[in-house]
């Protein structure tokens, strides 16, 4: 639950020169931003570097935030563009759903998982690990919807797609997550059914 001054109030104070207030915004959104960046790159150091870059960029362009959307939606748009730029620079392959290689990569990861599969995995751990098996596209849309609490319209705005396309993508992502759960964390899925 958000306490203290609202985002708009903090932003107007920062714009008036109270730079220290920006720390409030950073603290409020750092976990959200960091979680999204981790969906793009598994390396925590890289994810943290991107997240820092996002907040610096957001600070520099704060005057451009018009308030016609939530601050979080505006911020996550910067996250998306910064992550894509970072991955291009680092030449880390982003597995598109259209790319068949994504399934090969996932299968390789799956076999590693199978070897280490712990029988009594908690539900939370299981779903976190199943999320890591998903493609960037799938993990990102699930994170935006459930963890960053963005509506389909807002997700559409962040990703530059139609809300209906976002709806379809979310549905497919959940379906694939469920498949991963059934394949690798069968016991947890059984528990759910009981």
């Amino acid at each position: 639950m958000q306490t203290g001054p609202g985002d708009t109030e903090i932003i107007s104070r920062v714009l008036k020169g109270d730079q220290a207030m920006y720390a409030e915004l950073v603290k409020r959104y750092q976990n959200f931003v960091f979680t999204i960046t981790l969906r793009y790159t598994p390396a925590r150091e890289d994810a943290e570097e991107i997240a820092q870059d996002v907040f610096v960029k957001a600070y520099r362009s704060l005057a451009d935030f018009r308030g016609d959307s939530k601050f979080s939606t505006w911020l996550y748009t910067i996250v998306t563009t910064t992550c894509i730029t970072f991955l291009r620079k680092k030449r880390i392959p982003v597995h598109s759903l259209d790319n068949e290689r994504v399934f090969e990569v996932a299968d390789n990861q799956n076999s590693a998982f199978r070897a280490n599969q712990v029988e009594q995995k908690s539900k939370a751990q299981a779903i976190q690990e199943a999320m890591r098996l998903l493609s960037v596209d799938d993990a990102r849309i699930i994170t935006l919807f459930y963890q960053a609490e963005q509506s389909l319209e807002e997700i559409g705005r962040i990703l530059g797609i139609d809300p209906n396309t976002a709806k379809v993508k979310l549905h497919r992502a959940r379906q694939r997550l469920k498949e991963k759960m059934e394949k690798h964390f069968a016991e947890v899925v059984e528990e759910l059914r009981d």
Partner: protein, 174 residues
């Protein structure tokens, strides 16, 4: 799409609170009357619950401090809307639209409309294109008209800009 996928799609819509009131009522009835729908609904509801409780990752302890140190070296850039003058954009658009219109008029006046459509007697004689004298068009009435329109557009823009500067200076003084 197979039946299972269809059921799941409808159920996710229901869980997300999407769809019309009629749709929701219909799904609600299916959940209470149909065992297959009920089982699937409970399964998805559990997954939904797990997804809603996904934990966020936390960056290092120094994260906020690092950002605050970084931004101390930066200034907030002025809003893009303060330095992008829409009138200039409209002026440039007007210039290109005028250019296209003048070009079209110039081309259409060269067409021999009474000519037939056969290959041998084409409306436009492509063979003569190499003999086109550009000087003829530059001195034509259309070019003068085109230049006039641009001069007028330029003067209008200049006038607006000067007015804008004047009102801005006056508001600063007051």
């Amino acid at each position: 799409m197979n039946k299972q996928q269809h059921i799941e799609e409808r159920l996710w819509e229901y869980i997300d609170g999407a769809g019309s009131a009629e749709d929701r009522l219909f799904i609600e009835q299916l959940i209470t009357t149909n065992q297959e729908w009920k089982t699937k609904y409970e399964e998805l509801l559990q997954l939904q619950d797990m997804l809603s409780h996904l934990e966020l990752d936390e960056p290092s302890m120094r994260f906020t401090q690092n950002i605050m140190e970084s931004i101390s070296k930066h200034h907030i850039a002025p809003a893009a809307r303060s330095y992008i003058n829409k009138r200039i954009i409209w002026g440039i658009a007007g210039f290109f639209i005028c250019s296209i219109i003048v070009l079209l008029v110039a081309c259409l006046t060269q067409v021999n409309w009474s000519a037939g459509s056969s290959v041998s007697s084409s409306a436009i004689n492509f063979g003569k294109l190499s003999h086109v004298d550009p000087g003829r068009f530059i001195n034509s009435t259309y070019t003068t008209l085109f230049m006039m329109i641009n001069v007028v557009l330029g003067l209008v823009l200049l006038d607006r800009y000067l007015n804008f500067r004047k009102s801005k200076m006056e508001s600063k003084r007051s």
